[in-house]
């Protein structure tokens, strides 16, 4: 019974807190620009308004148009439930792989729902979304492999307990770039643009209305929260803190990430399309070098005493591989 209550509480936490993050980002952007900006709870009002509205469907769409959105939203909620928050919760061996695949399913379904309308703009947006994702996903997987190698486990609850070092900084930088790319934030996409030719994520949902659009918007904010929590847990050693300190640190880190995203959006212009792959490759390489430090770090991050302990290698064959 307590497991049930625990799960319901987690679910409620994820679902209710998610729309706060875009509100914080927009507030930060407004402050930097010297405006008052929309209230932090604006997305909650928008979602409530959209939920009460009716659905307008094009007469060429198939049921996939609405089902894709629903499946995508459920997949994102599932991915969120896999992330560890304190003790207990869903955790099993290999849930990191399920996490990556659930995010991929969510993207696939959103793209499919967009393609279903047959609109040229939405097809273009879907094509761009998945072509960014090809590069961003490699970076996410490399980052998760780095965590797995470091902790020797494939379960998110034990993987996300990093040990401090150079690898954490690399991984944090890489995952932050991935967060910006996956959530279509500024260097990759402008969430405020209204020109269909340059929109990426927003153009995919042009034909959605009413409750399905609310699900899309809520799913997007949930994805932002998922990546913020993933980044915070991959960088901060939360497992070593007492429970209340870990919760406070996590909340503070997620808030800091939201403010960071807002600052990036305020001070950075959007990149040209041809420069995006370079930035995503940089994110991939940052995660790759984090993997390298996790793998070889014990050999090179060592203090001198442990070098001395190993001593001189006895008569080795020239160019022989040392085990």
């Amino acid at each position: 019974m307590s497991l049930f209550i625990d799960t319901v509480l987690r679910l409620a936490g994820w679902l209710l807190l998610a729309p706060l993050i875009p509100g914080v980002i927009n507030k930060v952007k407004a402050w930097v620009a010297g405006r008052r900006g929309p209230p932090v709870f604006q997305l909650y009002y928008d979602l409530a308004k959209l939920w009460r509205k009716g659905v307008v469907l094009s007469h060429v769409v198939s049921p996939m148009h609405v089902a894709g959105v629903a499946v995508g939203w459920v997949a994102l909620v599932g991915a969120a439930m896999l992330l560890p928050l304190g003790e207990g919760g869903l955790a099993f061996r290999g849930d990191a792989i399920l996490f990556v695949y659930l995010l991929a399913v969510a993207r696939f379904c959103t793209a499919l729902a967009a393609l279903d309308t047959g609109s040229a703009f939405e097809g273009m947006g879907a094509a761009r979304e998945v072509s960014y994702a090809v590069l961003a996903e490699v970076a996410v997987i490399t980052g998760l492999v780095a965590l797995a190698v470091e902790s020797g486990s494939l379960s998110l609850s034990t993987m996300l307990t990093p040990s401090p070092g150079a690898g954490v900084a690399l991984l944090g930088a890489g995952l932050f770039i991935v967060l910006l790319a996956e959530n279509c934030r500024v260097p990759f996409d402008d969430p405020n643009t209204h020109l269909e030719l340059t929109m990426v994520h927003e153009v995919m949902v042009l034909d959605h209305s009413g409750p399905p659009l609310a699900a899309v918007l809520h799913g997007a904010s949930l994805k932002l929260l998922i990546f913020s929590v993933l980044l915070a847990e991959a960088v901060l050693p939360l497992g070593a803190m007492p429970a209340w300190a870990a919760a406070a640190a996590l909340a503070g880190a997620v808030l800091a990430i939201a403010i960071g995203v807002g600052l990036v959006e305020s001070f950075l212009a959007r990149f040209a399309f041809r420069r995006v792959p370079l930035l995503l490759t940089t994110a991939f390489l940052l995660c790759l070098f984090a993997l390298l430090t996790a793998w070889k770090g014990s050999e090179f991050g060592v203090t001198e005493s442990s070098v001395a302990e190993r001593g001189a290698p006895a008569a080795e064959p020239f160019f022989g591989w040392r085990p």
């Binding site: 150079a166 792959p277 370079l278 490759t281 940089t282 390489l285 790759l288 070098f289 390298l292 070889k296 050999e299 090179f300 991050g301 060592v302 203090t303 001198e304 442990s306 070098v307 001395a308 190993r310 001593g311 001189a312 290698p313 080795e316 020239f318 160019f319 022989g320 591989w321 040392r322």
Partner: protein
């Protein structure tokens, strides 16, 4: 101390990749200069006790590679009024991936070498290999004369990293000679840049394929 050393060499290896990914000449020059400063500090970290030879090598390297040569290059850049964008023969992403592969390969390769035990735990040898390869990549993959100088600088930085293994037995005169050669080489390239610029209105070395009286 060894982990500080490894951190600095890691930063130098990261700057290799920054140099490979930078699309404009000033940022490339800045990356090469920063790498010069970073590897110039290394000799001080390698030995705990102070030695005037080590300090002189370190100071000379920081001043020449970090400040004198970059300012010469920036002057040449300003004087030549050239387009700052680079035209890569090997694209930025392929060269970045090649550089990363070279860095990882260098770490694997250095693990296979029969190094002395006191050198086995530091990144000096892999850092040197990676920097040399990235320098070669810049030399081969960029067309402008100034970016080729930066590739040459990276190459020299890699050789300097190798030299650090033997810093106690290298006479100061050798280090001074290397720095002097480097400065003269950059001078000569500066003059060449000026000549190419007057002759062709561009710094593209691809146009320098034919000899004419």
């Amino acid at each position: 101390m060894s982990s500080n050393l490894n951190l600095l060499i890691g930063i130098a290896m990261g700057l290799n990749l920054v140099a490979l990914a930078s699309g404009r000449l000033p940022s490339l020059i800045r990356a090469a200069a920063m790498q010069g400063v970073v590897i110039g500090v290394l000799p001080l970290l390698m030995h705990s006790e102070f030695h005037w030879l080590v300090a002189a090598v370190s100071a000379g390297t920081v001043v020449v590679k970090g400040f004198v040569i970059p300012s010469l290059l920036q002057r040449a850049l300003r004087a030549a009024h050239i387009d700052r964008e680079m035209e890569p023969l090997i694209g930025f992403i392929p060269s970045l991936l090649l550089g990363a592969a070279a860095s990882i390969g260098a770490i694997g390769f250095a693990g296979a070498l029969p190094l002395r035990p006191e050198h086995a735990g530091v990144l000096l040898v892999p850092g040197a290999f990676a920097t040399v390869v990235c320098g070669f990549l810049l030399l081969m993959g960029r067309t402008k004369a100034i970016s080729q100088v930066c590739g040459y600088l990276l190459l020299e930085n890699g050789i300097f990293l190798f030299g650090l293994l033997l810093i106690r037995s290298t006479p100061l005169i050798v280090e001074a000679g290397i720095l002097l050669d480097l400065t003269v080489a950059v001078f000569v390239i500066g003059i060449i840049v000026d000549r190419i610029q007057r002759e062709f209105d561009t710094l593209d070395t691809r146009k320098l394929t034919a000899l004419r009286e």
